[in-house]
């Protein structure tokens, strides 16, 4: 089985290279037979990589510990879902997964019924096949998932117990699929440049970009949730390079989705859009590279890694090649129109784009700084989370504020009168929030500014919906509910976008609350003793101990009360896995919309004296709720159809 899997990879590599060359040559010579052959090669590559994935799955499920990969990442007691997740838990497995996803997406793109931009397909599939070939080269020459060892151990080393969490089943594939989906818009962008057809490619890739954006968003959110419930340090985002690697392409994809609207409507920002989609793709590859090459621990580990140089070469070719191509096509990429006024929806979009890209570069700089300083000054200078917070928070607040300003501003130009009329209500709401918070005794100005911006944007969105609903109700004589429903359904991408904005607001609410107002307290208690934190009283009831076939578990039970009223029983645990030395902390969380009480079992002594670390994190659950809203809005915008195709009312009629 293993030999077949490995051989399928080699064959897939040959076939992908053939397909890439054949479709490029076929497109150049207008040779339909060669193109058909290239298409078959693409289908064959998908089949071969799938075969390879299937045989790795077979090895995993049949506990064939003669295979090094199976030995390193699984054990006999691992349950079925985690055996599947072992497919992407390790380095080479995840690369195989990458290649498999590229081939699947390429397959979908190829067999999709396409009315427009058919002539872009050969070049686009050629680009996708080159990307696929790159990953196959890594799998064939550098790190094979099918390597075998001569001695067959009776059991494997097992999956790292921290990865045994439902979040970890979904997080890596979502993030990886998001990375890979960015290949499709990138491929079409390059094809459009090569074919000199620079007008129609955007609508074709909008949904792929949105798909990638959605997956990256989901992946990052699940990752944050996993860190919160599983890593046991009380937070959800640490600006770790691995997290940043997932966030950066998401930010650029966000910018692209917005600026693509500008090009579609008014033919502006063509070079900018091309650059964004190239950047998003490069960041996706770069993210894959960051997390595997060991480059972040030191330049020296990078020198020892065998995979790093491959990535550097691929990234270099991609960057130089695509920006060189943009330069050669610069005449064709001229804007058709210019922005008419500084006060218009266009300029808020543009500004928002700049801020998103600036935030991405700031994060990139911060992530790479230890490396840059090591190369330039021969000393590693690390930046801690405060750098990212200080740069990121103002930028993200500004971006959110702009999303509110943009909602109530018309395309092209806005008259001062209508602006004043539109903004007065949200502005007053923001002012009221500031006053109420100040009166309530809040003095953390970051939070005050944050909350007032959030309420401004919330009101702006709701106000826009209200007016849209009203106008529709007047015109169609519907009731409020069906008018609202009709409004949303008539332009799903637009209102899906607004729902996404609402989701972002909720996430921002949670982030602001939990980062400004979190309280942490450590206490060492004997059974029966109490500790207080904010308005809560925690009583330690005692330690417990039990065993399962694979783990030994120590539990600490506590009673949570507030104002003399018992609220809930909490159990914080620490367990030791049979095959893994490292302990795993299971935190106890009591979550309410207002705040989470988060208890970490830190340590204990023989006489049951136990140390806890307790946090009160306000508003955290809004992050997860906002994430769900964001996904809902994204899906609404992603669902096929829903864009108005009929032109509206004549001007004379509208005036009546």
């Amino acid at each position: 089985m293993a030999q077949v899997g490995n051989f399928a990879l080699i064959l897939a590599l040959v076939v992908s290279v053939y397909s890439a060359v054949a479709s490029a040559v076929g497109a150049q010579r207008y040779d339909p037979r060669l193109l058909a052959s290239a298409k078959n090669a693409l289908l064959a590559a998908t089949g071969l990589i799938s075969l390879s994935v299937a045989s790795l799955l077979f090895l995993l499920l049949s506990h064939d510990f003669g295979a090094v990969y199976v030995y390193q990442y699984t054990s006999r007691d691992l349950s079925f879902p985690y055996l599947i997740s072992a497919l992407w838990a390790g380095n080479s497995g995840s690369l195989l997964f990458w290649a498999w996803l590229v081939s699947l997406f390429a397959l979908v793109v190829t067999i999709q019924k396409r009315t427009a931009n058919r002539e872009l397909l050969p070049y686009a599939s050629s680009v996708m096949m080159i990307t696929q070939a790159f990953f196959l080269i890594l799998l064939v020459f550098v790190t094979g998932p099918f390597a075998r060892q001569t001695a067959v151990p009776p059991d494997g080393m097992g999956l790292n117990p921290m990865l045994e969490n439902p979040g970890m089943i979904l997080h890596p594939p979502a993030l990886l699929a998001g990375y890979v989906a960015l290949t499709v818009p990138f491929a079409f962008a390059i094809a459009a440049l090569l074919e000199r057809r620079l007008e129609g490619w955007l609508p074709t890739v909008r949904r792929w970009a949105l798909f990638a954006w959605l997956l990256l968003g989901v992946g990052n959110l699940i990752g944050a949730w996993w860190a919160y419930v599983e890593l046991g340090w009380g937070g959800y985002w640490a600006w770790d390079p691995v997290e940043n690697a997932g966030l950066m392409p998401w930010l650029v994809a966000t910018a692209f989705l917005h600026s693509a609207m500008m090009q579609r409507r008014q033919g502006m920002l063509k070079v900018w859009n091309m650059s964004l989609i190239i950047l998003a793709f490069v960041l996706a590859i770069f993210g894959t590279f960051l997390t595997r090459s060991g480059i972040l621990s030191s330049v020296h580990t990078f020198g020892e890694s065998s995979m790093g140089p491959f990535f550097v070469v691929f990234l270099g070719i991609t960057l130089v090649g695509s920006f060189g191509l943009i330069y050669r096509r610069r005449e064709l990429l001229k804007s058709e129109t210019e922005i008419e006024s500084l006060v218009s929806r266009e300029s808020t979009f543009l500004l928002n784009n700049w801020l998103l890209v600036a935030a991405t570069f700031a994060i990139l700089l911060g992530t790479m700084f230890p490396l840059i300083s090591e190369v330039v000054w021969r000393t590693r200078i690390a930046l801690d989370a405060s750098f990212f917070n200080q740069v990121g928070v103002p930028l993200f607040l500004a971006i959110i504020l702009l999303s509110g300003l943009c909602t109530l501003i018309g395309w092209r130009r806005a008259s001062p009168g209508s602006l004043a009329r539109n903004y007065v209500l949200p502005f007053l709401a923001a002012l009221v929030v500031v006053v109420v918070l100040m009166v309530a005794g809040m003095r953390q100005w970051y939070a005050i500014v944050g909350f007032s911006i959030l309420s401004f944007v919330l009101l702006a969105i709701l106000y826009d919906w209200l007016r849209g609903t009203r106008a529709r109700r007047r015109m169609r004589r519907e009731n409020y509910f069906s008018a609202l429903w009709g409004l949303v359904m008539a332009n799903r991408p637009r209102y899906g976008g607004y729902i996404v904005h609402l989701g972002i607001l909720l996430i921002a609410l949670g982030v602001t609350g939990s980062s400004v107002f979190a309280t942490e307290k450590e206490a060492t208690l004997k059974p029966g003793e109490q500790m207080t934190i904010n308005r809560y009283v925690l009583t330690f009831n005692g330690l417990g101990y039990f065993q399962t076939p694979s783990r030994e578990v120590v539990t600490a039970s506590l009673s949570l009360a507030s104002g003399g009223r018992p609220l809930s029983e909490m159990t914080a645990e620490k367990y030791f896995h049979r095959t893994y030395e490292q302990p795993v902390t299971e935190v106890a969380i009591r979550s309410t919309p207002l705040e989470d009480v988060y208890v970490i079992l830190a340590g204990w002594e023989a006489d049951q004296t136990t140390t806890f670390s307790v946090l009160v994190n306000p508003l955290v659950s809004w992050i997860w709720f906002g994430g769900a809203v964001l996904v809902l809005g994204g899906l609404l915008a992603f669902w096929p159809g829903g864009t108005p195709r009929t032109p509206p009312e004549d001007a004379e009629e509208a005036a009546k």
């Binding site: 380095n91 995840s94 580990t301 210019e338 500084l342 600036a358 200078i381 450590e522 060492t524 830190a602």
Partner: protein
């Protein structure tokens, strides 16, 4: 004319972001050494908050009362004793790589404020 307006807006914006980054940099920058580099610097780093990274020496970890953790990190044949008080992250295991943040005291012991073991979700580099 309009172009110039946008140009000015862009320049102002990027200047502001640059300023923000520089300000943030001052508070956040910290020298990061391996154990051998840190010991090489010797007295020069006394009292400075720095990062040091190496491998947790097998058999050196001892948990003591009051939540105090003592261990030794090694790198390139050099050793650095570390003292830390607080919650120990799960991923802190012997032989795993760890980065500690804190100060070296005059007796040659590293007083760690935080310990950051290598994250479990990362892939092993090859």
């Amino acid at each position: 004319m309009k172009k110039r307006k946008f140009l000015i807006a862009g320049i102002v914006l990027f200047a502001a972001i640059g300023f923000l980054a520089v300000m943030a940099f001052r508070g956040a920058a910290m020298y990061s050494y391996t154990v051998s580099e840190l010991l090489e610097k010797g007295d020069a780093v006394l009292g400075q908050t720095v990062k040091a990274s190496g491998e947790v020496a097998p058999g050196s970890v001892s948990y003591e009362p009051d939540n105090i953790l003592k261990f030794v990190i090694t790198e390139g044949g050099n050793q650095l004793p570390v003292v830390y008080q607080g919650v120990v992250p799960d991923t802190f295991v012997e032989s795993n790589e760890v980065t500690v943040e804190g100060q070296l005291d005059t007796s040659g012991i590293f007083q760690a404020r935080t310990i950051m073991p290598k994250c479990a979700s990362k892939y092993e580099p090859e």
